[in-house]
Amino acid sequence: MVHLILVSATSVIFGVASLFLISKARNRLSVGSIRRYLDNFAICLAFIVIFSVWQTARTIFGIDINVEGLTTYPEYVFVIFAYIAFIIASYRVLKISEEFGFKEDGKRIAQIIKEKPLKKEVKSKS
């Protein structure tokens, strides 16, 4: 029982600390794609933290909060929400990679450079 409380409390502390770090990072960023991604990520984390807090409270105080139709583990609803938020956050990362990824452009430019002779070389040949 003590071990369970220790693990649960540690998870909550880590979760809250992560939320604090995200909030600090968010405040430093200007409005845009990256900040929006952080918002999504914070929502995912918030759901997981709520789940952990709920579970910890249940372990420590032995409280059973019964929601109609979800009598056994109502806190798992938050895990489901967290996964939905994770999907949205992952989709946003995909969009960010499409926008900010220049790998293909870099390859194409390198190819053009290889094929293109220097102006000076052209002049000296002629």
Binding site: L29, S30, S33, F102, G106, R108, I109, I112, I113, K120
Partner: protein, 187 residues
């Protein structure tokens, strides 16, 4: 007053990487921005990144094409065209607003790192426009970040600004950081 091409030739041509501050008057601005790209792309065959806060990407590409510059060798980061969110088309990333400094920084970083050549450039056009949309302290921090990154990336960094529109303290500080300063036109 030296022309920008002459400054590049005289002061920094032999350096693999440098930071050049181009201080220009309004009349010479258009010609100078084209001359800088021409000196790097057309004469030295160096690819790079052009961050524009003044002209939309398509206008810039049209002007470069008219001046005989191969526009395919440049990745454009357009911070002036108002778009909903960021979007990408024809070698150009539209950031959507000059206020989105975090997006701008990440875009520049990714674009520079994507270029696989030994030599590459970053042109920031322009510092005074950045000051219109952002607080002086934010501009100062961003410019410090950018100059630091230019050194870290080991690229040819060129920052263009209009002297009359730029905070003298920031300009002095930037001059101190730079390897050379080119005063173009009636400056």
């Amino acid at each position: 007053m030296l022309e920008v091409k002459e400054t590049i030739r005289k002061e920094v041509k032999n350096l693999k990487d440098y930071l050049l501050l181009v201080v220009v008057d309004a009349k010479s601005y258009q010609k100078t921005s084209i001359d800088v790209v021409k000196a790097l792309v057309s004469e030295q065959n160096i690819p790079g990144v052009y961050v524009t806060l003044n002209k939309p990407c398509d206008i810039l590409q049209r002007n470069f094409t008219a001046s005989g510059i191969d526009i395919r060798l440049v990745i454009y980061i357009d911070c002036t065209s108002r778009t909903e969110g960021s979007k990408k088309a024809n070698n150009c990333l539209y950031i959507g607003s000059p206020e989105k400094l975090s997006d701008m920084s990440i875009a520049i970083d990714q674009a520079v790192k994507a270029l696989q050549t030994d030599e590459k450039f970053v042109i920031f056009d322009s510092l005074n426009t950045l000051s219109i949309f952002n607080k002086p302290a934010t501009v100062a921090r961003f410019i410090h970040f950018l100059t630091g990154k230019i050194r870290e990336w080991k690229v040819k960094g060129i920052i263009i600004t209009l002297e009359k529109e730029t905070d003298p303290a920031l300009l002095d500080e930037l001059t101190q950081f730079s390897d050379a300063r080119a005063d173009i036109g009636g400056v």
